[in-house]
């Protein structure tokens, strides 16, 4: 399984990378950690004639926050996020999602931008991004920077809004400030570390009386792209989230899902599983919130 022949350029800065990308177009691919791309190339499913390595660009590895938003440079390593304890309060759902991503060896190379732009429908970081309504910043040589919300970014399996001359450069996640913010992320996969059969994520904030102040939730692996349910979430504001209500909501949400069947799992199973997991994370996130300062 040797990759098809390609040329390689190690970008010295972002402008250079974007310039080359613009010039060469769809025959070129950007590579950061390569944990998804290299196996695809080994199987010759991906056959770029030019690989542009952006993994050494410090400008794409910065993590910064301004109280309202936390910004991840696209080439920030998953491992660096995993070991950054400050992110427990500023990006708790991302942290929790990471517990389920691959193995430590893949997290040592994999990047947040890489996972998001690869957009496997069962992947964890795309689900976290969708649920939190993250904003992706895409940059090209000729068009500069544009911002795309997660719900317009993930277009289908392995398919995003990134054009062939664009590079995902940064991702903004909103910070939910204040007390009593809780999160939960769970998935069921055949083996630990595999892509999910179905996954679910939730971030919730409650007030001092335990009523829902803010909530966001979604499921992965049951559609072409991760799904969030902002309308259903809206309905919960001001209410008490009981386990029963959680299950009802989960069942309602899953009606919108359209998973296929595959080698291992029937569509029916995936949907039922998604509902089960969604109900669980709603309850877990609430417990997490009640216990947090």
């Amino acid at each position: 399984m040797k990759a098809a022949i390609f040329d390689y350029v190690c970008a010295e800065n972002l402008d250079q990378a974007l310039g080359v990308l613009e010039e060469v177009g769809s025959d070129a691919k950007l590579i950061a950690g390569g944990q998804s791309l290299v196996p695809m190339m080994a199987m010759r499913f991906a056959r770029p004639s030019l690989l542009i390595d952006i993994n050494r660009l410090d400008e794409l590895k910065q993590v910064s926050e301004d109280g309202e938003t936390i910004r991840f440079g696209a080439c920030t390593r998953q491992r660096d996020i995993e070991f950054n304890t400050a992110l427990n309060t500023t990006a708790p759902l991302v942290k929790k999602a990471l517990n389920w991503v691959g193995h430590s060896q893949t997290r040592n190379r994999g990047t947040i931008g890489g996972s998001l732009s690869f957009a496997d429908p069962s992947a964890e970081l795309p689900l976290a991004a969708q649920v939190m309504g993250a904003t992706m910043h895409l940059q090209s040589a000729s068009q500069g920077v544009r911002s795309v919300n997660a719900n317009e970014f993930f277009l289908g399996p392995m398919y995003t809004a990134i054009s062939e001359t664009e590079c995902l450069v940064a991702i903004d996640f909103p910070i939910w400030s204040g007390a009593k913010v809780g999160t939960a992320f769970t998935e069921v996969s055949m083996r630990k570390g595999d892509f999910a059969i179905a996954s679910a994520a939730c971030q919730i904030q409650v007030d001092t009386k335990g009523l829902v102040k803010r909530i966001a939730f979604g499921v992965g692996g049951v559609n072409g792209a991760p799904m969030a349910f902002p309308r259903l979430a809206e309905q919960l504001v001001g209410k008490v989230l009981t386990p029963q209500l959680a299950q009802e909501l989960a069942n309602e949400a899953v009606k919108e899902c359209d998973p296929g069947s595959d080698t291992h799992n029937t569509a029916q199973f995936r949907k039922s599983l998604a509902a089960t997991l969604l109900a669980r994370v709603l309850v877990e996130a609430l417990e997490n919130a009640m216990g947090n300062q």
């Binding site: 022949i5 010759r44 083996r191 291992h264 599983l273």
Partner: protein, 797 residues
């Protein structure tokens, strides 16, 4: 013999092989670098069944770095076909497809180039014109007359079918109070070693020798390779000192080796082929049993299982590898460890347009045990009897050995109930039950699983003449040569490869025991096929018995020779000599003694002091036929299959999350009796590994095919191997019932764990499901499958 005190046998000892593995100095076939070596990549058929109309390699051949493209036509003209195991000469098989591709992944052409990468580039440039033909992937449909034929000439997709009737089956059924019938489905899986098959060959015009370095575990490999290449047997030199990265039966790479050897000779350059994982999964031909069992058991109301009918249909894929014979080996333990009095066994091997099977650990015994144990649990459930009590009523008791089973095999020794109770007590059962109840109370499905199974060992090939009367092979031997050199150092030679069984450790322990010398001082080498004594490879859990026996035999001959030299030298009768640690001392006169160095001196240098007529030097060989071997089957198919019978009893606590279908194993105990263990660490290790294999088969692993005959599980992303998270912590409880047939009482144990774990895990899952009134009789029991079974009402609604 269980009482005999051994000095080295049975003691903890670091394995010799591990010294090189931990520092990365193992020598695997892909590590072999030969000067000017060329590399191979494969063009494979994308169709399950298609005529090959034309192959245009011109673009590939003009790619710089490409040296040759070979197709089936060239091999047809220059090599002999590979032999099927059953009598089906019209089912011819060559390394590459001849005119017709019969499975997706079948090799159609091979490219040889300067590097593997260039070879893969060239593969993409080869244009093959196919004309798709009707294909068949369902084995039961394939048995119907109207189905497309995988091999036209054969006239049927059934390559083997025979119904054996041992004992008064119908009569016994009529005497039973009850009978139950069920189907059990063992889906296609395999042992999938982490190392794929790799082979390098170099031909030399002046010596006319084909040197072969291969990741091989296969009886008669050098001979079959020579035959296919139309070379004399002494023109092929297989280097058995290559470390094989796991095999567990499957590394039979004959077609890979024929291809590469042919290329090496044609191009007069060394050639190497290392299968990549895609080639391996689809076209490496190392998939395993794919069985539908239909079983009926007849039993009394007291729970005695008297008789059984079993029909086993195996979907062997497009060609006959070792697979039809894997329906034959289980004949040797067809009733398991129970006193079933009569058996009807129908074995059907059917071809479909899928990847061929190869020998897999246990050679069909594990699926068969799964089928039998499924029935035993069902009988218990039917009678509302405790499964442990039911087994106790039916297990052959320790006073009944040797025990002759209806199909002609005699079980040598055993104490099944003791091992079973040991496992139950180690759990302990009461705690498992309490934990199970606690899990059930918390909303989980939870169950206790068990299996009591045999591991026939000793690797007699009597399934060959059983399934093919034209094959009258009854020789199944192994050998060892032991020599003591001029300096007094001991070297032993074994004549086959190892794939993780620590044979060098086994042989040095045995030789050390017999000669009373430090095992670590004994060097064990793997001979090559030109200077090796006959061997039949590590298959059928045979090496502890056969290689251990041969090493002991050779060492004993040496010791006897040393005794004669000592007696002659000391002028005392042999019987008066005591031997310890290399020194012979006369028991009646302690001043008369001679030590190791003195003995070696005489043997190697002092001919004048040797007994009259004795050969100089100290070297002895021992070639040993399998005990109880040497007989052909009877007319009605009765035969002594394997000589020795190890036993295992698995006890498991598992739970299922009813909403996710995920199985968690909370406790895993395996009671194991393989007689005297020569290397206990090795035995334990292989048992843990066997359980892991079994867990994979039970819960995760399946070679799924589409309706179009496309392999859907062709990478490690879809064929799921258990990791350290999925395999639980395991407790092994040992017991020793020695075999009367072997030197030290050892039985074989290469398949332990694997043979009983799928059955035990299924038993636990079904016990967990039983309060819901549902069951599952298909492996693997994936979350989706279990959820489907648990919620079958909801699904139908």
């Amino acid at each position: 013999m269980a009482d005999k005190q051994f000095k080295y046998i049975g003691k903890p000892r670091r394995a010799v092989e591990h010294r090189r593995f931990v520092v990365g100095q193992g020598r695997y076939a892909a590590d072999v670098h030969l000067r000017d070596m060329l590399h191979v990549a494969i063009v494979a058929s994308p169709y399950a069944h298609a005529k090959i109309k034309s192959i245009d390699a011109s673009a590939a051949l003009s790619l710089p770095g490409v040296h040759a493209v070979v197709t089936g036509a060239e091999l047809l003209a220059n090599t002999d076909p590979m032999l099927p195991g059953v009598d089906a000469p019209l089912v011819k098989r060559y390394p590459m497809a001849i005119d017709v591709a019969r499975y997706a992944g079948e090799w159609v052409a091979a490219v040889v180039a300067d590097t593997r990468a260039i070879a893969e580039d060239a593969v993409e440039l080869i244009e093959v014109e196919y004309e798709p033909l009707d294909h068949i992937v369902d084995p039961e449909k394939a048995m119907e007359q109207s189905s497309p034929l995988v091999h036209e000439a054969q006239g049927s997709n059934v390559i083997f079918q025979r119904k054996f009737v041992w004992g008064p089956v119908e009569d016994d059924f009529s005497k039973c109070d009850h009978e139950i019938s069920y189907r059990a489905r063992w889906s296609r899986n395999s042992t999938v070693p982490i190392e794929t098959f790799a082979v390098a060959c170099e031909w030399n015009d002046s010596t006319q020798i084909m040197d072969v370095w291969a990741s091989i575990q296969m009886p008669k490999f050098p001979d079959q390779l020579a035959k296919a290449l139309r070379l004399d047997g002494n023109a092929v030199r297989v280097h058995f000192d290559i470390d094989v990265g796991g095999s567990y039966g499957v590394k039979r790479g004959l077609k890979h080796s024929i291809l590469v050897a042919y290329l090496a000779r044609k191009l007069n350059r060394p050639v190497r082929f290392v299968e990549d994982r895609l080639e391996n999964m689809r076209g490496g031909d190392m998939q395993g049993p794919d069985r539908i069992f239909d079983v009926t058991m007849g039993f009394t109301k007291e729970g005695i299982i008297r008789t059984m009918k079993m029909r086993a249909v195996d979907d062997i894929g497009a060609y006959s590898g070792r697979s039809p014979l894997q329906l034959g080996k289980p004949v040797g333990a067809i009733i398991g460890p129970y006193r079933i009095q009569s058996v009807q066994y129908e074995a059907i091997a059917v071809m479909t347009n899928k990847t061929p099977q190869e020998a897999v650990r246990g050679f069909g015994q594990s699926p068969t045990n799964y089928a039998i144990e499924t029935g035993v649990d069902r009988v218990a459930r039917f009678l509302k009897m405790d499964r442990i009590e039911l087994r106790k009523k039916n297990l052959i008791s320790k006073d009944e050995f040797p025990y002759l089973i209806p199909s002609g095999t005699s079980y040598d020794s055993g104490d099944y109930e003791t091992v079973f109770m040991k496992a139950l007590n180690a759990a302990p059962l009461s705690e498992l039950m309490a934990e199970r109840d606690r899990l059930r109370a918390s909303g989980h499905l939870a169950g206790i699983g068990m299996s009591t199974c045999l591991e026939p060992s000793g690797g007699n090939s009597s399934f060959e003449p059983l399934f093919n009367p034209k094959n009258q092979t009854t020789t199944w031997m192994d050998s060892c040569l032991v020599r003591i050199d001029l300096s007094g150092s001991i070297t032993a030679l074994m004549g086959t490869s190892s794939s993780g069984q620590s044979h060098e450790t086994l042989v040095s322990t045995v030789v050390g025991e017999v000669l009373d010398r430090q095992p670590d001082s004994i060097r064990v080498l793997h001979a090559d096929s030109l200077n090796a004594l006959p061997s039949n490879s590590p298959v059928g859990s045979r090496m502890a018995i056969m290689l251990g026996g041969a090493a002991a035999g050779a060492a004993k001959k040496l010791r006897a020779k040393l005794a004669k030299i000592a007696a002659h030298h000391l002028a005392v009768p042999e019987e008066s000599l005591r031997y310890e640690n290399g020194v012979f001392t006369c028991t009646t006169d302690a001043s008369k003694s001679i030590g190791w160095d003195g003995l070696v001196e005489i043997a190697h240098r002092k001919y004048h002091q040797l007994p009259e007529g004795m050969e100089p030097g100290l070297q002895e060989k021992f070639v040993w036929e399998v005990p109880t071997g040497g007989t052909l089957p009877t007319e009605d198919g009765r035969v002594q299959m394997y000589p020795c019978h190890s036993f295992e009893a698995h006890v498991i606590l598992a739970s299922i999350d009813p909403n996710t279908g995920k199985v968690t194993i909370h406790k895993y105990i395996c009671g194991h009796d393989c007689g005297v263990m020569i290397s206990p660490d090795v035995v334990h290790g292989m048992t843990y590994g066997g359980i892991a294999h079994g867990l994979g088969a039970a819960l995760f692993e399946k070679f799924s095919f589409s309706e179009e005959g496309q392999l859907l599980a062709g990478t490690f992303m879809d064929y799921l191997l258990p990791s350290a998270h999925e395999v639980p912590s395991i407790t092994i409880v040992d017991h020793c019932t020695p075999s009367p047939l072997t030197e030290f009482g050892q039985k074989g144990s290469g398949e332990a764990g694997y043979l009983g774990s799928p059955a035990a895990i299924a038993s636990a899952v079904n016990d967990a499901l039983s309060p819901r009134g549902v069951s599952i009789n298909t492996l693997p029991m994936t979350p989706s499958a279990l959820w489907g079974v648990i919620n079958s009402d909801a699904i139908e609604a």
